[in-house]
Subunit: 356 residues, 2 copies
Amino acid sequence: MLQGKNILVVGTGLIGTSIAQGLINHGLHVVLSDVDPQILGTAITKSGARAWDSSENIDLAIIATPPAVVARIIKELIASQPHAVITDVSSVKGSIFNSLHDVSDSDKSRLVGGHPMAGREVKGPESALGDLFVDRPWVISATEVTSQSAIDLVRELATTLGAVPIERSLIEHDRAVALVSHTPQIVSSVLAGQLRDANESDVELAGQGIRDTTRIASSDPELWSQILSGNALEVAEQVTLIANRLHGVADALRDGDSAFVREVLVQGNAGRDRLPGKHGGAVRISVATVMVRLDDKPGELARLFAVAASANVNLEDVRIDHSLGRMTGLVELAVAMDAQSVLVKALISAEFVVVR
Amino acid sequence: MLQGKNILVVGTGLIGTSIAQGLINHGLHVVLSDVDPQILGTAITKSGARAWDSSENIDLAIIATPPAVVARIIKELIASQPHAVITDVSSVKGSIFNSLHDVSDSDKSRLVGGHPMAGREVKGPESALGDLFVDRPWVISATEVTSQSAIDLVRELATTLGAVPIERSLIEHDRAVALVSHTPQIVSSVLAGQLRDANESDVELAGQGIRDTTRIASSDPELWSQILSGNALEVAEQVTLIANRLHGVADALRDGDSAFVREVLVQGNAGRDRLPGKHGGAVRISVATVMVRLDDKPGELARLFAVAASANVNLEDVRIDHSLGRMTGLVELAVAMDAQSVLVKALISAEFVVVR
C-alpha cells in the first residue's frame, strides 16, 4: 500500500515531477531530490511536494534521473535506505542492472526496474503533468530475486498514476524497446539528417509522408544518446539488419530487380499490420476509416466533431492531411467497424462531403 | 484556355478519375480511356465523363496510367493525335522522358511532364475525388523544347483543379521526390518489415513513434515498386547514403562512441527543422503548440474544436497521441504564435486542462 508511505523522487525533470504531481493529487506523501537546486525549486512549486531531508527514511524511491547516473544512485540508496523499495523510470534496463552485479541478493530483492512509456517533446519540471501516464504502458522488470511485495508496490505506483503495468524480463524489455522505440528513433534521425543540406526547392515538395516518418527526429539529442548508448548492443544489431536490407534494396534498384523491391514493400505492409490498434491489430479487432473533405472556413473541424459526438460515435483516431506546410481539408476518422455507417449517415445529413 | 477543348484522360484509376471529375465539375469536356472496360465503366459513372471514341480528335491528353506504360502511350498519342498537348501524372520523370529520345523536337514541343502530388491510401475510380488536388503541389517539368503554350495549358489544368503549379526540370523533379517521397517510402517499409516476425509481446509496447515512422509502409506495393524502379538510380544513391550512415551508428553504438550517436541525433533535429510548415519552416514563420488533456468522455474533442472556433483561432495542425493501440486524451494543437495566448485563455475559461 502506498498510502502512508514516504515516497522519494530523485531527479525532478519532466518524468520525475509528473510522477510527484500525480501522487500528490492522490493524497500521497512525496519528497523530492535533484542535483540542480533551481530545477528542484521549480519541481516543488509545480508538484506541491517538498524537498527531501536526507536524514529522513524512505519507503519507496523512484529514480527519474538521466539513465547514465541511475546505477550509481541505486547503489547510494541501497546503502543509505536499508528498507526502501527502489525503482527507476529508464528506457533501458540491462545496462543499468548488469552494473549492479555486486549488490547482494537481499538488497536486490528490493529492486524493481520500471519504464513508464510516456513523454513529451518538451522537457523540465515546468512541463510536468500529473496525468502524463494515464493509459500508458508502465513496464515492470524484476530481477531474478526481487520480492513479490516490491513488485506489487511498483505495480500500485503505476496503477495509481493511471498507467497499465506490463511485466517483462530485463532482456525482453530491452529487446522490445529496441524494436518499437530505439531503432525507429535512429532511422528517423538518419532519414531527417538527409534533409539538412538539401536544396530548398527540393524540400519544398515535402508532403505528409516524410513529415510523419521524421516526426520523432525532433527528439532531445542529449537524452536520446544516453538511452541509445544504454541499449547499445540490441539496437546496433537491429540497426545493422535495417542497413543491410537498405543496401539490398539499393542493389536491387541498380540491377532493375523490381521483384525484390516489391517484396520489401509487401513485407512492410505485413509489418505495419502487426501494430496494435488500427487496421486489425491486437487491441481493436476492426477499425473502419471515414474520409471527410472539409470546406476551408473556420469552425468546420469543430462542426465535424460535434456531429460525430451527437451521433454517439467514438473516434478511435483522427488524422489530418498536410501539404505545402499547411493543413488541407482532408480529415481521416477511424471508428469501430460497426459505427461506420452511423457516422457516414450523420455526416451526410449534416452536409459534409464524405469521400468514398 | 481549357474551355471548349477536348480533354482525354488515359487510365482511369484514382488519379485519372479524380482529374476527370474535377474538370467536369468546372464544365469542361472530358473523355476517358482505360484498358479495363469495368474500371472504365466505374470511372464514367463516377465522373460524368464519357468514353473516348478513338477516331475523335483530342486537344489535351492526360496520361494517368501506371508509370511502366506511360512512355508507350505517349508515343502512340504523338502518332495518332498530331495536334494534342500531352502530359502525364507520374511520380517519376527522367526514366519516362529518356525513353522518348527518338521523338522529334517538333513533337517534343507538345510534351509536358506533370506530377500532381496527391493521393490516397485507397485506389481505383470508386475512390476518386474531384477536389483531390486542392492546395497540392502539381510539379510541371518541361522538356528542353516544350513550347510555352503547352506549359501554360498544363499550368491551367493544375490551377483549374485547385493545385499549385511548381516548375522543376526533369532532373530536379526526380532528385526532389527521391528525397522527400521515394527514399522515405523505402526506409519506412524496411523499418516496418522488422516488425513482421517480432514477438507479439514486443510489438505490444509500440507507441506513437513507430506508428508515425511506419505509416506509409501501408502503401500499395505494386504501384510503388513501379515508381521506385522508375527513379532507381537517384533513389539507390540516397538509400545507400542512409544505409552507410546506419552502419556508422551501429558501429558507434558497439564502440561506445556516444558523441557520434549524439551528432546523428543533432543532425536529425536540423533536417527535420527544414520541413515547410510547422516549427519555423518555409511557409509559416512561427507556429506555437498548445497541449490539451481531454477527459475520457464523449464529445470532449468536439467541445475542444468548438472553443477554438469561437475564439476565432485557426488551427494549423492537430495531432492526437496514441498508446496501447488507443487514442489517449492528449491533443496537440498548432496555431500561429500570435494566436496562442487567445486560444489558451479560451480553453481555460472553458475548463480544459491546458498542459504547460
